[in-house]
């Protein structure tokens, strides 16, 4: 069962990633990108970490993909893209990808990941929370400061004075 789901997810993820690169229509490309990100969320579900999976869905599919869609819809495609049909570049890119993937795969297989067998229960998100406030508290405080800074910045940016004009008499 898990193997079949894993295979299906792999096909969806890799297939839609290729589609995202190759499709001529930018909108369909970003939909395919959503498929890739959703497939990765599926992998996290398979790995017994629904917490990460749901954040993947909420942040990547829900926000990043929306941003990309938004940008694609508001920008005229002809202004930023020139069609460059160069078969040599394409083959070079494919070769580069193959080399990278083989190298990464070799590193993975060499790292002893095949011999790991574990029946341990999945990590509870409460444990992650407890770890964050005890052992990793400096990281937590750093993240909190960065996030607070960015939220304050966003608020300051959003709170601007309206441009007065003649049409709106308030």
């Amino acid at each position: 069962m898990a193997d079949a789901v894993f295979l299906a997810l792999s096909v969806i993820t890799i297939g839609s990633a290729i589609a995202a690169l190759e499709l001529r229509s930018l909108i369909y490309g970003s939909i395919a990108l959503m498929g890739t990100l959703g497939g990765i969320a599926g992998f996290f579900f398979l790995l017994d970490s629904p917490f990460v999976a749901l954040f993947q869905l909420a942040v990547y599919v829900g926000s990043i993909a929306v941003l990309i869609l938004f940008t694609v819809m508001l920008v005229k495609r002809e202004l930023i893209f020139k069609k460059v049909e160069d078969s040599r570049r394409k083959y070079a890119g494919l070769a580069l990808m193959l080399v990278t993937m083989v190298a990464l795969g070799a590193v993975f297989l060499d790292s002893g990941i095949k011999t790991i067998t574990t029946d341990e229960p999945a990590v509870n998100f409460r444990d992650i929370g407890i770890d964050f406030v005890t052992y990793y508290w400096p990281a937590l405080i750093l993240m909190a400061l960065i996030l607070a800074g960015s939220v304050t910045g966003a608020l300051v940016l959003a709170k601007r004075e309206d441009v007065e004009n003649d049409q709106r008499t308030s």
Binding site: I27, A58, V66
Partner: protein, 433 residues
């Protein structure tokens, strides 16, 4: 005005009835009965209690409550029942349909109009069925230059996403929820994130000006109000220490969280109005400016599906408000216990005594929980509908500044209130709960 067709003749009508009966009998005897015989010949019927289960015997058993009630009970314990009937799609769709009718009638009364009146003789009670029939029978028109795959898929995906949202809502104690997941609230956030994508894709795919303007507005509005929505719910998570919606509901048996976190409840209510595109935040569908916003090009049952999804979403948001802030299913026990004498003696009607072993179908706590949940949810839906009769629409820059500056600030205030309650020992371990 005559309700009959102009060239109506009673004799023709009776003749057509006889015609239909003749054809039905002919088809049953020539096709139906042989088909049943063939099926019976090839299917091996089971032997139960030493008796071969013939169709005749099966029909006899169905009339016997001591045999049929266990079947009903077994069906009610299945996932299928939960998904399709209660507390899943059927229950939510029923409440949503009621909402549509009550909304039209109530707004009419608020604005001194009559509202639906003729359909169904009594106060237009059948208006909804009439509208549904009209939508089903209308032709689906697709704009010539629309992007057809996305345009067709968008309403279906919209309803599916709304139904997934409904599936996370716990309705009654004892596990009456479709998907009881540990991370239910995170699941809600993930599902809410899908609505803007579907909206903007359907708006873009129509390839028409008004839907696109409406879709862009919807995207702005939903994305900017998602942040205060998520932040306003963090207070409840902090004081309960769980993300499971059933546990959050059960944790409010003494007091609802709105008592301690009123700021969060107000922020959540306002963001809810914006996410649902209700007045005063109905810029995406502003009918006086951009026809019907992102719904302009939908026709026939596609529009019906989008409408169904919208009202399912409305029910789900109201139910989420009830679960998080108003105590969910908790309330004083007002449902009477199941009468004992029906269990022991059965129902006596003159000389006939009918015994129903296997009753009751639902226990008292579940019925009471459902009753309170429905009362609270209907109340919240009423407060969501009310502004539509009263308020004008606000400008989009006011909307965005409201979302980004005021509501986010208030949501942070709510989080600090929750943390203060927790660290002061009022709530949490050592405190009230």
């Amino acid at each position: 005005m005559s309700v009959l067709a102009p060239k109506f003749k009673l004799s023709e009508f009776i003749k057509s009835l006889f015609d239909n009966a003749f054809w039905a009998l002919l088809l049953v005897s020539l096709v139906g009965l042989p088909l049943i015989q063939v099926v019976l010949f090839y299917i091996e019927m089971p032997v139960i209690n030493g008796e071969l289960l013939t169709p005749f015997l099966a029909l006899t058993w169905l009339a016997d409550p001591s045999r049929s009630l266990p079947i009903v009970k077994a069906f009610m314990a299945t996932d299928m029942f939960r998904v399709m009937v209660f507390p899943g799609f059927g229950f939510a769709a029923l409440l949503a349909a009621g909402t549509i009718f009550v909304e039209r009638k109530m707004l009419a009364k608020l604005q001194l109009r009559v509202g639906p009146f003729y359909c169904g003789k009594i106060e237009g009670i059948l208006q909804l069925a009439g509208d549904g029939l009209k939508l089903i029978s209308k032709e689906i028109i697709i704009p010539a230059k629309a992007d057809k795959p996305i345009f067709w898929a968008a309403p279906v995906i919209f309803v599916a996403t709304a139904a997934a949202f409904v599936a996370l809502i716990p309705v009654a104690p004892g596990g009456w929820v479709v998907a009881d997941v540990d991370l239910g609230l995170l699941g809600v956030f993930a599902i809410i994130g899908f609505f803007p994508i579907i909206t903007i894709l359907s708006a873009w795919s129509a390839n028409s000006k008004f839907p696109f303007i409406g879709g862009i507005r919807a995207l702005f509005q939903m994305v900017s109000f998602e942040i205060p929505l998520i932040l306003s719910l963090l207070g409840v998570v902090i004081v309960t220490g769980t993300l499971n919606l059933s546990e959050i509901s059960a944790s409010q048996s003494f007091f609802p969280w709105i008592v301690f976190l009123p700021v969060g409840a107000i922020v959540f209510f306002i963001t809810m109005l914006a996410e649902l595109e209700r007045i005063p935040f109905d810029l995406p569908e502003a009918e006086s400016e951009i026809v019907a916003g992102w719904l302009t090009e939908f026709s026939g049952m596609m529009y019906g599906l989008v409408q169904l999804g919208t009202y399912l979403k409305l029910y789900a948001f109201a139910a989420l408000f009830v679960v998080l802030f108003l105590g969910g299913w908790n309330g004083p026990m007002i449902v009477p216990p199941f009468p004992e004498e029906i269990l022991t003696e059965g129902i006596v009607l003159g000389p006939v005594t009918a015994k129903f072993p296997g009753l009751p179908l639902f226990d008292q706590a579940m019925l009471n929980g459902t009753l309170w949940f429905v009362i609270k949810t209907v109340g919240v839906i009423f407060f969501i509908l009310l502004p539509r009769g009263v308020f004008p629409r606000i400008r989009i820059d006011m909307l965005l500044s409201l979302g980004w500056t005021k509501l986010i600030g208030l949501a942070f205030v709510n989080i600090f209130i929750a943390l203060g309650l927790l660290y002061a020992g009022v709530l949490g371990p050592g405190g009230l709960q």
